[in-house]
């Protein structure tokens, strides 16, 4: 929570949180998805307010937005932004393919041993 006060309210109700799906991670994902949907709705409401305030002040109206035509440069700039967005959102899926295409990552524990033990004298 963004806050101007130093008080931190408890965020979890006392009592075990029930889960409903066979895998509790699905419960957690669905809750996060709804929180994300909520934040999307907040943003959309803010845009709606923006349009209404602009119309009320005589700056531009919702119709101006509906009839706005994208020129080529704008189309391309948006396309680039979408690409970045998808890249970020699907990163965990697409990046995993790199391991398939290239050499698989080293076993992580082997790397830990490598950096932890590289000062040890090799046995003769």
């Amino acid at each position: 929570m963004s806050d101007e006060s130093a008080v931190k309210l408890r965020r979890k109700a006392k009592g075990k949180r029930p889960t409903y799906f066979s895998d509790p991670d699905v419960d957690r994902l669905l809750s996060m998805l709804m929180a994300l949907t909520g934040e999307l709705s907040v943003t959309r409401d803010r845009l709606d307010t923006l349009e209404r305030v602009a119309a009320a002040k005589g700056l531009f109206s919702g119709d101006d937005i509906e009839s706005y035509e994208l020129d080529q440069a704008a189309l391309e700039a948006r396309g680039k932004r979408h690409e970045t967005l998808f890249g970020e959102v699907t990163r965990v899926i697409t990046s995993a393919l790199e391991d398939l295409e290239q050499a698989p990552s080293e076993d992580y524990q082997a790397v830990v041993s490598l950096v932890e033990d590289d000062d040890k004298v090799a046995p003769r």
Partner: protein
């Protein structure tokens, strides 16, 4: 269907919300509305077409109680999704109400102490022991419950509850969340037009949503209201003063109040009994009897008992008991209420158990209660007795 998107009646004790904080609360309200109107109806379909079919195939008969319905419904994907979404909506509701309160808590607590009028009173008892049935889990999943205090003279839990209940009810309990009090008062005025109480007690008043209708409708009566939670009472007092209504709020346990014997004409509570315990509910009825004048009236507003409900409907109605921190919900809905009244000393008159229509005209009278939408039934169950 819920009432149209009418906003809560603003008052000085509520925090000011900024644009996005309000939008977040509106989302939760719409989310809940969607669950009620678009997701909840699918539960019946899932039961009839899938869960019940499975049960019948195995047992050659239909489920006969909530335990048998639960056995097959808990495995049903639609029930799982609905439950997860409903629980999530409840958590998001509290969160959306917490955000503006946390941001402005110091100011809220400060301004609650300063008023432009001196209506009513507030009497707190820091030595009061918060009962175990109240402390064990946070009721309705409100983080911190009713009683947690973060700063001196704290009002956080009350301010959060005030707003949270409005979002919960989706406006169906009126702009002041007053429907339970309003409906009971309307019933009293209709059934007992000559009843002129001079002293009224509201037990488990929280922020006084249901208390103020009595102060409004019986202006000649002295209205008292008690709760165990100090932050609720501070907010309740500030709210009542903001609305210019005189109520005497006191931090007391309804099981053992400090009021004199035979001192009230009317003792009421609103959705208090199901938040207590087997022992406490008996104590509360006894206490009602003790403080009532002979001929006085006890009225407890609740949701209706399970008796007579079909197993599937009962299973859904029971959802809160295991999923919304309502540990006494199930037991309290299956008690022998007539016997409870007799044990409490109400032996002169027959106990009342009746359905009272909602006073809030915009409410659609669905006459059903469902998890996540207890304000939408259009009727309240009233249990009581004359002393």
């Amino acid at each position: 269907m819920a009432a149209s998107f009418v906003e809560q009646q603003p008052h000085d004790a509520l925090p000011k919300t900024n644009h996005d904080e309000l939008a977040r609360q509106h989302f939760v309200r719409s989310f809940k509305q969607h669950l009620v109107s678009a997701v909840h109806p699918g539960l019946k379909v899932a039961y009839e077409k899938r869960a019940k079919v499975e049960f019948v195939a195995e047992h050659q008969r239909e489920p006969e109680n909530i335990s048998e319905v639960g056995k097959v419904m808990r495995k049903d994907p639609h029930y799982q999704a609905w439950s997860c979404l409903l629980r999530t909506s409840q958590e998001m509701m509290w969160s959306s109400a917490q955000i503006p309160v946390q941001r402005s808590l110091a100011n809220l607590a400060e301004s609650a102490q300063h008023h432009t009028n001196d209506h009513g009173s507030l009497s707190l008892d820091p030595s009061l022991v918060i009962p175990a049935y109240h402390r064990a889990v946070d009721i309705h999943c409100q983080p911190g419950g009713y009683h947690t205090e973060y700063i001196p003279s704290d009002v956080a839990q009350g301010a959060i509850y005030d707003r949270g209940v409005y979002i919960y009810a989706m406006g169906q309990m009126g702009r002041d969340n007053a429907d339970m009090g309003d409906s009971t008062v309307a019933w009293l005025k209709q059934e007992h037009p000559d009843f002129e109480p001079t002293k009224i007690l509201d037990m488990g008043c929280a922020v006084g949503h249901s208390t103020l209708p009595y102060a409004e409708s019986f202006p000649n009566a002295e209205v008292h209201a008690i709760d165990v939670a100090a932050p609720m009472l501070r907010h309740a007092h500030a709210r009542a003063r903001a609305k210019g209504l005189p109520v005497h709020f006191a931090q007391q346990n309804a099981e053992t109040t400090n009021y004199a014997d035979n001192s009230f004409d009317l003792v009421v509570s609103h959705i208090l009994l199901h938040e207590t315990s087997s022992k406490a509910i008996k104590n509360i009825i006894k206490e009602c009897h003790r403080v009532l004048k002979p001929g006085g009236l006890m009225l407890h507003v609740e949701t209706p008992p399970y008796e007579g409900m079909a197993p599937f409907e009962t299973f859904l109605f029971d959802w809160d008991s295991e999923n919304n921190n309502e540990p006494f919900w199930r037991k309290s809905h299956t008690l022998d209420l007539d016997e409870l009244a007799r044990q409490g000393g109400f032996t002169e008159h027959a106990p009342l158990q009746l359905m009272v229509p909602s006073a809030f005209q915009e409410t659609q009278r669905t006459l059903t209660f469902q998890g996540g939408d207890f304000g939408g039934g259009g009727v309240w169950f009233v249990y009581g007795c004359q002393k």
